[in-house]
């Protein structure tokens, strides 16, 4: 399933938003000049002005932490919104007084709300996500068991996506308005519009039923690399195609933007080889927005392949979440959401840091 954070079409609104947090001094030369000249008169150089990169990273970490706290609060209140008594709902037909008491105590739901709130935040921050309603096992352990499968799938999918998107997006962007560009645009529209679970089913019926490829399950890479690969191909393509479509559009836009920039004309006016202009001038500058969106895509894949995992009976986090919903295993659902949001935030943080390291406008300000 594609995520609206990242679906290709909503790219642009995201970009200005992100850029609001990062300096674009090159685009607003006048104001930049103002500041540099005026700043000299006033401020003494403090720690923060002397270490811009460090300051930037610290601020990002702080911001991420604040967001993470918000995420924990939201996740905590999810269970409070369940109409009726979650423990009773979860027990269903297994209900007995003793079972009820035991489960309520184990999950801490017998304490007053305020105590639950702080103890939830406290334990969440140290990685204790409570116990499963279904079998009483620690949620964290259940999640970590499934995480490697989902991580391999997400990495393979992003690999597939980049493999398709980088050449297509670059060619289309360089030939803006041309025939190839139109074809790529239409193809990417197709890719964004395909329901991923449907594509998974189609792939299964062709390759699994037709050619006998494995259509379900997962083998750890460390045990059987060949088995791992054969189990990975179809789900990775399924999840990767939608991301590829989104990334293609992003890369195209980035390439168009950069190739219209004046400094590319400068590079051309130096009589440089076409390839040099393409790589050193267009490529490196287009890399920055593409890096950002690739990070977001990867994060989205990690948490967004629920349906693909269901279709391929792939034992990852998504499948676990699906089962948790069916079983009304609220602590497990909460834990999974929290873990995925945490991964999402961490990847975004890493991308931002990488971004700052690449872009001298942040590194040296």
């Amino acid at each position: 399933m594609s995520d609206p954070n990242t679906h290709g079409s909503s790219t642009a609104p995201e970009a200005p938003d992100r850029s609001a947090d990062t300096p674009r001094s090159a685009d607003t030369p006048r104001s930049a000049d103002n500041q540099s000249s005026q700043a000299e008169q006033t401020q003494q150089a403090g720690f923060f002005t002397r270490h811009p990169l460090l300051t930037f990273i610290l601020r990002r970490i702080l911001l991420t932490f604040v967001t993470l706290l918000g995420v924990i609060v939201v996740v905590f209140f999810l269970i409070q919104l369940v109409p009726g008594d979650p423990v009773r709902i979860a027990l269903g037909t297994r209900y007995t007084d003793e079972a009820y008491q035991a489960l309520q105590q184990a999950s801490g739901l017998d304490k007053p709300l305020i105590a639950q709130f702080f103890s939830y935040i406290g334990s969440a921050l140290i990685g204790d996500l409570g116990v499963s309603f279904r079998n009483g096992e620690p949620v964290m352990m259940l999640l970590l068991e499934r995480l490697p499968a989902t991580i391999s799938l997400a990495l393979c999918a992003i690999f597939v996506a980049l493999l398709i998107a980088i050449p297509l997006g670059t060619i289309a962007g360089l030939r803006e308005g041309g025939v190839i560009d139109s074809i790529v645009r239409v193809i990417s529209q197709f890719g964004v519009s395909i329901p991923d679970f449907w594509m998974g089913m189609m792939l299964i019926s062709v390759f699994a039923l037709g050619f006998g490829w494995p259509s379900s399950g997962y083998t750890p890479l460390t045990e059987d690399p060949i088995g791992w690969a054969t189990h990975m191909v179809l789900p990775a393509i399924t999840a990767g195609v939608v991301s590829a479509a989104i990334l293609t559009r992003f890369i195209r836009t980035a390439v168009i933007d950069v190739s219209h920039a004046t400094f590319v004309r400068t590079a051309t006016s130096k009589g440089l080889k076409h390839w040099t202009v393409l790589t050193k001038h267009i490529g490196r500058n287009a890399l920055i927005p593409v890096l950002t969106i690739s990070g977001i895509q990867l994060a989205t894949l990690l948490g967004g392949v629920i349906v693909v995992e269901v279709v391929f009976a792939y034992p990852g986090l998504g499948r676990l979440i699906y089962d948790a919903v069916a079983a009304r295993d609220y602590p497990l659902l909460q834990g999974a959401i929290l873990l995925i949001a945490f991964i999402f935030l961490t990847i975004n943080l890493l991308v931002d840091v990488l971004y700052a390291i690449i872009d001298p406008r942040i590194r040296i300000s």
Binding site: S25, S36, Q38, T266, T268, L272
Partner: protein
Amino acid sequence: MSDIPADQASAPEAAGARRDPAPEAPVLEVSDLTVGVGRNDIVHGVDFAVATGQTLGIVGESGSGKSLSVLSATGLFEAPGGYVHGSSTLDGEQIVGAPAGLLRSIHGRRIGFVFQDPSTSLNPLMTLEAQLAEGPIKHLGISAPEARERSLQLLTELGLPDPELRLGYYPHQLSGGQKQRVMIAVALACEPDVLIADEPTTALDVTTQAAIIDLVAGLQRSRDMAVVWISHDLGVIGQIADDIVVMRAGEIVERGSVADIFERPQHEYTKTLLAARPLLRTQQKAGSADAHADREETGEPLLRIEDLTVDFEVSSPTGKRTITAVKDVSLDVYRGRTLGIVGESGSGKSTIANVLTGVVEPASGEARMSGDPVLRLSGADLKTMRRRIAMVFQDPFAALDPRMTVQRSIAEPLMAHNLLPRRQRRQRCAELLDQVGLDASFIERYPHELSGGQRQRVCIARALAVDPELLILDESTASLDVSIQAQVLDLLAELQDEHGFGYIFIGHDLAVVEQVSDTVAVMKDGEVVEYGTAEQILRDPQTDYTRQLIDAVPPAEPVRA
């Protein structure tokens, strides 16, 4: 942000140093060049030529096709559906229609380019060294250390302070003027035969502009290269060019030597451009010089600003800091008189306007309008003050809501202050349009259907709608072509005579400010460095900075830099 060491802004050479138009063969020769996109010709068959050691100035207002002609002639114009016909030869070699490989061997090696906006002309992710070395390594086949040595020499020659250190810098670490120097170094890195300078000083402050003009003139002499200098500013062209081509709407309307064009212009359009040129009063013929002489300032000021200080908090991804945009400024504006505020970008001149209109809160200081406080108002008081002080913005393209008709735009302040019943608003709009020289047929038009000058007239009409006492004109004519600018300035003067408004005229161009103002305040880095009557400032400037500004105004008679 002027980056010119004082000694560099040397006195221009005497006009006599100008070369005689050389009889030698032109290095770049363009004939019957037609450029267009899709089905529309934009440039209709132009001819021009430039010889070694000569500078050809191409002047025209925006949309005249001057940049397009030159970029097409040098093989740098590329657009989907674009076409170039005719001939352009570099030392006999045809450029129009030449294969990409040939163009690449010419670009950078034999023709160097400098573009308008230095802030976007350099790759933000590459060090200056890398950008300077690229061309020579490719064209001259030299090693990286050799290229570095070359770049170092070039930057030293171009007057960039501390070049060794700056080679490792990224573009964002330089000021605008420094970036343009680096851009010139990039263009000259392979010692080209021809330098194309496309509005190279337009985005720069006036004092920086003067320094760049001197620099290029000096480099041209030392290297004996041909220069094609494109500008909208006839004054600038007069300082740099030997021959001038005047373009309008894709055609050349007049050509000749600098002396011919300035002293014996033939075409009406050239005459208009010359007449509309902003000049200092001391440069003009006697008689017009004391047009304002009878306007003594008497009595109570309409607006008195005392010790105004404004601080800004600037937040960046790396933290917050406070900068002082305006520092201890005291100024007076009298009824029916104009206070001019002149300064370069970052001088704090526009901040004063924003404080007076209540958009920015001052840190300290006071301002009174006929005794009533102006600053730190809120609610009904603020609203009343906003009626008494009106503002006209710089960019008429952006100052009108594209989705509103002229009438709705003009009626907006009337509605905000509940001034007239709905039925009478249309009548009032027509009257206001009439006052600014537009007829009532404009009332239902949208901004995109108006020209720049017409839009600015609408903006002025809107400012007049609520009968203000004070008008703030913040660079109000800066984005207009010179011929339009002159008309709008005339209109403003008429309106002042008629209604007795006090004006605050904010500008970066001393010639324009001085022309319309009774008193002038010169601002630099948030402070008023000089304040007095226009006459005093001009005849007897007290600070070096004011003198620099005066020197930066292109003279009435062209003087070769």
